[in-house]
């Protein structure tokens, strides 16, 4: 019986043309280890002869080789994701093609969990934690506190590179050989299409802002049936309210929106009331004021702080206030 199994029959079987009796023979033929080897060999051959389509190989192979070179020691996956050695690709051939661009994204905090887990790798940070992540295409991401970045496990799509972000992140997007576009999506329907430049996005439940340093990005926003697109010029600041209406302002100070990446906090006439959002979003702390008028006080300046504690200390010193904490609630009082 076994002698009747040959390549032609297996090919017919793979194409769905075998009879139930032939299937039965093939199944018993597969009991043997060597025959199983042969089966996979013929399967590979069959796929080469009758492919369903012709997958693009060169760019994917280049990406894979770059990935192999970047991680020469085969560390664990955790190490790959958390390590800084990915963040500085050594001067290999690949790197010459990559023109760095930098982007800061501050996006709504609503969770984007669950679906399509298989296809995405999630990078999460806790409150008060920032982390640098190197993506397989060479793009650098600095993830701010309480944020989640979902990245297609590798490779990205063949036409665009897409990631999904909730929270805040600073992107240093690298240009690829084939000029694939980099797209940042949010669950609020805001999309930022990067053309290889520097820009800043801020998007929270109370609204969104996008600031462009230099170069060009395209924003896409609005409800599904009425999507809008907007191209930004350097220095532009676009504000979006939760209903999706956009307002344009020129000549913002873009660098201030990326300051957190260096543990720096920049305020320009920012009210204490607005600071309560910063503390709840970044450190999960509630701020209360003794005296409602304190809310309207404004602060200007740049503060260096590694933790909520340090920031509070710096802020209250600057404004001649004092603070005390009760659990996760901070109470601010006058001196």
């Amino acid at each position: 019986m076994e002698s009747t199994i040959n390549k032609q029959l297996v090919f017919e079987h793979l194409a769905g043309k075998s009879t139930p009796m032939q299937k039965c023979s093939i199944e018993s033929w597969l009991q043997d280890d060597e025959n199983r080897e042969r089966f996979y060999q013929w399967l590979a051959e069959w796929e080469q002869q009758s492919p369903q389509y012709l997958p693009e190989l060169d760019a994917k192979l280049a990406g894979y080789v770059a990935f192999l070179k970047k991680i020469p020691e085969s560390p664990t996956l955790e190490a790959v994701l958390g390590e800084k050695n990915l963040s500085r690709p050594s001067g290999n051939l690949w790197a010459r093609w990559l023109v760095a661009a930098s982007a800061l994204l501050v996006l709504g905090l609503a969770g984007w969990y669950g679906q399509e887990k298989l296809l995405f790798e999630s990078h999460r940070t806790g409150f008060g934690e920032t982390r640098s992540i190197g993506l397989p295409d060479g793009t650098q991401v600095m993830l701010n506190s309480n944020s989640c970045l979902r990245v297609p496990r590798f490779g990205f799509g063949s036409h665009t590179r897409e990631v999904v972000l909730s929270g805040e992140a600073n992107f240093s997007v690298r240009r690829t050989i084939d000029n694939r576009k980099f797209l940042v999506k949010t669950d609020q329907g805001l999309e930022v299409l990067v053309f290889g430049t520097e820009f800043t996005v801020y998007a929270r439940e109370r609204g969104s802002k996008v600031v462009l340093n230099k170069g060009k990005v395209q924003l896409r926003y609005g409800a599904d049936d009425a999507r809008k697109a907007m191209e930004m010029k350097p220095g532009d600041l676009v504000m979006l309210d939760p209903q999706g209406h956009a307002k344009l302002r020129r000549n913002a100070a873009p660098q201030n929106y990326a300051a957190w990446a260096a543990h720096r906090f920049v305020f320009e006439g920012t009210s204490l009331d607005e600071l309560t959002y910063l503390f709840s979003e970044n450190f999960d702390l509630k701020i209360k004021f003794e005296g409602e008028d304190l809310r309207q006080l404004t602060l200007s300046g740049s503060f260096q702080a590694e933790s909520a504690e340090e920031l509070l200390q710096a802020l209250t010193d600057a404004a001649s206030l004092s603070y005390s904490s009760r659990g996760d609630t901070i109470i601010i009082t006058r001196n």
């Binding site: 079987h13 793979l14 769905g16 299937k23 093939i26 199944e27 018993s28 033929w29 597969l30 009991q31 280890d33 199983r36 080897e37 042969r38 089966f39 996979y40 060999q41 399967l43 590979a44 051959e45 796929e47 080469q48 002869q49 009758s50 492919p51 369903q52 389509y53 012709l54 997958p55 693009e56 190989l57 994917k60 192979l61 894979y64 080789v65 990935f67 192999l68 070179k69 991680i71 020469p72 085969s74 560390p75 664990t76 996956l77 790959v80 679906q115 298989l118 296809l119 397989p136 297609p152 496990r153 590798f154 490779g155 799509g157 063949s158």
Partner: protein, 218 residues
């Protein structure tokens, strides 16, 4: 080439599955053919002994396409198929899976991609109806001949189910899944409403789901 295939796939209602129309047509083809004729994988094994990085690269060059086009028979989306295969290769390196390959690399890779594709498909179809198909989370398919046969049955059934869809419905479904086009773009291209496009996709998916009820390997 891909463009040509996609229009044939989408528009030719009678011959759903393109047959032998593609060839690899490049120098890789010769390497691949020579290699496939030699079933021992001696050359690859030697590469891995010398430099695992070179070995991985060689495997990718040899099998990436075959694995993608095999996976797509199960998942019906080029993008998903390519992601599954890439993920496999990335894990192959980072988890040093190549060290544990005792039989051929080819058998390991094809077996793995079939398992991944199967798991993806079962997860994907379950999203649309959690009641009809209940499966345990893990489908660790080992090497039993019966399971190998069942996976073949699965992609044949899928193929037949898709071929059985009404032409317009099949066309919309393939544009959406296989080509990865958005409903809005399909609607514009075919002059249909988005709602109609979505209905077609939904109908195709429920046909697949119902047709596959008996196919799951539990």
């Amino acid at each position: 080439m891909i463009q040509k295939l996609s229009s044939e796939t989408a528009q030719n209602a009678d011959s759903f599955e393109p047959k032998n129309k593609l060839s690899v047509g490049r120098e890789d083809e010769k390497i691949l053919s020579d290699h496939l004729a030699d079933d021992s994988e001696l050359f690859i094994r030697k590469s891995f002994e010398e430099d695992p990085q070179k070995g991985c690269e060689l495997l990718f060059r040899l099998y990436y396409r075959g694995l993608c086009t095999h996976a797509v028979r199960f998942v019906y989306s080029k993008e998903v198929a390519e992601d599954l295969v890439s993920e496999l290769f990335y894990n192959f390196w980072t988890k040093r899976s190549y060290q544990s390959v005792t039989a051929s690399y080819r058998a390991y890779l094809f077996r793995s991609v079939r398992n991944r594709a199967y798991n993806y498909l079962s997860n994907d179809l379950r999203k649309y109806d959690s009641l009809t198909v209940s499966l345990s989370e893990e489908h660790s398919l080992t090497e039993s001949p019966e399971q190998i046969m069942q996976l073949e049955e699965l992609h044949h059934t899928l193929n037949a189910l898709i071929a059985s869809l009404p032409p317009q419905c099949r066309k919309v479904f393939l544009m959406n899944r296989f080509e990865g086009q958005r409903p809005r773009d399909i609607a514009a291209e075919l002059g249909l409403s988005i709602r109609t496009v979505e209905t077609h996709i939904f109908k195709a998916l429920s046909t697949l789901k119902n047709g596959l009820k008996d196919q799951w390997l539990c």
